[in-house]
């Protein structure tokens, strides 16, 4: 074969409008070839937005070229296996590029075409020898068909769909159990055939309806450790006609059109990159031209555009509804606006069309100070790092200033059209939860409770009396599979009260449950103002009579409430039961966990290792004095409740 297999250009998706596209192809090429370090930022920005094969291919080629001049900043490396019912070449090249621009370097394994079932079932296959950290399983949609008749009873057809979904999930779980690696399992693209006409929706036996049923079952039945890559959604979003590519299938067994490979690669690399790095926590938002049309200080409360009386007003109201939904899902909202404080407050209190009210905001800064300063104040108030912040504004100048002075904050330019705000905010993909936990749904309420605690603290004169008045109840429990999503979330997100910042995936945490040499527990806290939920995680390893604290982290919301004391009491109680003579604490300093640098010494531990990167502390079990606290502990780890 002389010229290699081609792809067709089915319907070339129109090039997307790229608002933040600073450099054109020629400029980018010359930056790449001259070895200019600015190249990498532009490359990453354009690669994340790329929606066509030609563009992403161009960017990937430039990256390879530029790599000869400079080394990229690689933060992590990943052993990635791609297996499935399609040819995974050249999908992997796109994935590799999109991970590289996110600082993840890949070692990869490509399964043979349509050999993934035996690769998973045969424990001696090269897949396992590769020792992957993560596998992407891409089943062939065309092979997933209902084998019976179109006229079979719907219940029978549904059972077949459940069976097909279970089969894929079992494969994924077999792989996880054998390899200890994580899995991202793709579901099935729906076919664009006109075949059967309107009858296709009257049966589950048609390819269209059967695959839809399989996808539904797959998503609803997937255990927490199997993450689903929603290929059905991606194909619908691009349009089935543009995503399908019969010629590419016949010629080289491709999943779809070249542009559709880009969609899947974008999604997969986003899922991979966000596995160990949780979503953002805070959305700081402007007011004028953002939550309503117009400028409150000039137009007054009657003059601003908001609500159902005009199309623009309706769009602003819809944006507020979306922000409310984000807040209900656990994203903290904060106002960050150059504005007159009293006039701004008045809108929230008095405007009848306002969806968002003051109680929906965890912080409120409307003044004439620079927004970068206000963001810092909000971060201090909420005890959340600025790297967990997204800042949204209609004004490009404000976005740019924040980018310069608070580079950790992700800026989202909402632009001039309120009809586009929701789409632009979602395009950053900053607030997509890996799992929605109960804590997420409670979070804004918890910050509100926190404000009431602070008010109480101001009225009570001494700390012990304040703590006693909170009527705290704690429950300590060994790791429970039901708590896994929340445990994984805390492990992925906690930065400040986190002694070692060891990140573990849900699969890795699950693996600890089977290890007799690990003792792992969590603590929940509630008080008269409400339930703070699961707020602390400890992972200890028993190593030759020493109780080694591999992980200890705590939500900063419950600082200074004696949770630390109860956790330490539990550590020593368990160490003694486990027959350990000594407890060893480890502190790995990061830019963010300075608040716990001295915690072991506060508990009387002696420093035994003291290098810049690692500190160790030890305390003999018999020397520890149990601390008394105002928390009534209703349950302890490894005890029946």
């Amino acid at each position: 074969m002389m010229l290699l297999s081609p792809r067709r250009l089915a319907i070339l998706a129109a090039a997307p409008v790229l608002p933040d596209r600073h450099v054109n192809d020629a400029e980018l090429k010359s930056l790449a070839l001259s070895g200019d370090t600015a190249f990498w930022g532009h490359l990453a920005a354009r690669s994340r937005q790329a929606a066509s094969f030609s563009e992403l291919f161009f960017l990937s080629t430039l990256r390879k070229k530029a790599k000869r001049h400079a080394t990229e900043s690689v933060q992590t490396s990943l052993r990635l296996a791609l297996i499935g019912g399609y040819n995974l070449y050249p999908l992997h090249e796109l994935v590799e590029h999109l991970l590289a621009i996110r600082g993840v370097e890949c070692e990869r394994f490509l399964g043979d075409y349509d050999n993934f079932v035996s690769e998973i079932l045969d424990g001696s296959s090269p897949l396992y020898a590769f020792k992957p950290d993560l596998a992407f399983i891409l089943p062939n949609a065309g092979h997933c068909r209902f084998s019976g008749s179109l006229l079979d009873a719907v219940e029978y057809q549904r059972e077949a769909a459940v069976g097909a979904a279970e089969q894929l999930l079992n494969l994924a779980q077999t792989f996880i159990a054998r390899s200890g690696a994580a899995v991202i399992l793709a579901n099935l693209a729906l076919p664009g055939d006109l075949d059967l006409g309107s009858f296709r929706s009257r049966t589950l036996g048609a390819d269209w309806s059967f695959r839809k049923a399989v996808n539904l079952e797959l998503g609803l039945r997937a255990p927490a450790e199997v993450q689903i890559c929603d290929v059905e959604f991606l194909s619908a979003r691009r349009g089935i006609n543009a995503a399908e590519d019969a010629r590419a299938w016949y010629e080289s067994k491709q999943l779809g059109s070249p542009d559709f490979l880009v969609d899947v690669a974008q999604e997969l690399s986003h899922l991979i990159a966000s596995r160990k790095q949780g979503p953002k926590k805070v959305l700081a938002i402007d007011l004028d031209h953002t939550l309503w049309g117009g400028v409150i200080a000039e137009d007054g409360i009657e003059g601003i555009e908001l609500g159902d009386s005009s199309p623009r007003g309706e769009a602003f109201k819809a944006f507020q509804k979306y922000l409310l939904a984000l807040s209900e899902r656990g994203v903290l909202l904060a106002v960050c606006s150059k504005n007159d404080h009293a006039r701004a407050i008045e809108v929230f209190e008095k405007h009848p069309e306002m969806v968002l009210r003051l109680e929906h905001f965890a912080a409120f800064k409307a003044n004439w100070d620079p927004k970068s300063d206000n963001l810092q104040r909000i971060a201090d108030e909420l005890r959340v790092g600025l790297d967990s912040f997204v800042f949204a504004d209609d004004n490009p100048a404000e976005i740019e200033i924040v980018r310069q002075f608070q580079p950790q904050v992700e800026g989202v330019l909402l632009g001039p059209d309120p009809a586009e705000f929701i789409g632009r905010l979602q395009a950053g993909r900053h607030f997509e939860p890996r799992n929605v936990t109960e804590e997420d749904l409670e979070r804004t309420a918890q910050y509100r409770q926190e404000r009431r605690r602070t008010e109480l603290a101001a009225t009570v004169t001494d700390m012990p009396a304040y703590l006693a008045s909170l009527e705290m109840r704690g429950a300590i429990k060994e790791f429970d599979s039901l708590d896994l999503p929340r445990i994984a979330q805390l492990i992925a997100r906690s930065n400040q009260f986190n002694l070692t910042t060891v990140r573990r995936s849900e699969t890795e945490i699950q693996g600890l449950l089977r290890r007799p040499d690990y003792l792992c527990f969590t603590m929940r806290l509630e008080d008269r103002f409400g339930d703070s939920g699961l707020i602390s995680v400890v992972i200890a390893k028993i190593e030759g009579g020493v109780f080694v604290l591999d992980t200890w982290l705590m939500s900063c919301r419950v600082l200074k409430r004696q949770v630390e004391d109860e956790i330490m009491n539990e550590i020593f109680r368990l160490a003694e039961i486990a027959g350990c003579a000594t407890v060893r604490g480890i502190y790995l300093p990061t830019a963010k966990n300075g608040i716990v640098a001295g915690i072991y010494e506060e508990f009387g531990f002696i420093r035994t290792e003291d290098s810049t990167a690692r500190k160790e502390f030890e305390l003999e079990v018999e020397k520890y004095q149990m601390r008394s606290t105002k928390i009534s502990v209703t349950r302890r780890a490894y005890e029946a409740s």
Binding site: M2, L3, P6, R7, F57, E251
Partner: protein
Amino acid sequence: MKQAEVLAKLQEVFDGIFLEKVAAKPELSAADVEEWDSLKNISLVIAVEQKFRVRFRVGEVEAARNLGEFADLIAKRMEP
């Protein structure tokens, strides 16, 4: 369109796709160009289909043994 004209237009496509200078000559094949892998080939076919406003049928591109045959194929598909 004559083969030479097609090759001249192909040269423009090549200049946009290959990082090295690759001359579009009839006897050229993918094996002669280091960076011409199957990924690049997909891009090349997409670019050619856009530039010449043609659509190849299944299996055709694979059957072309060198750039001259590929140019002839393009010319053939351009015929109304």
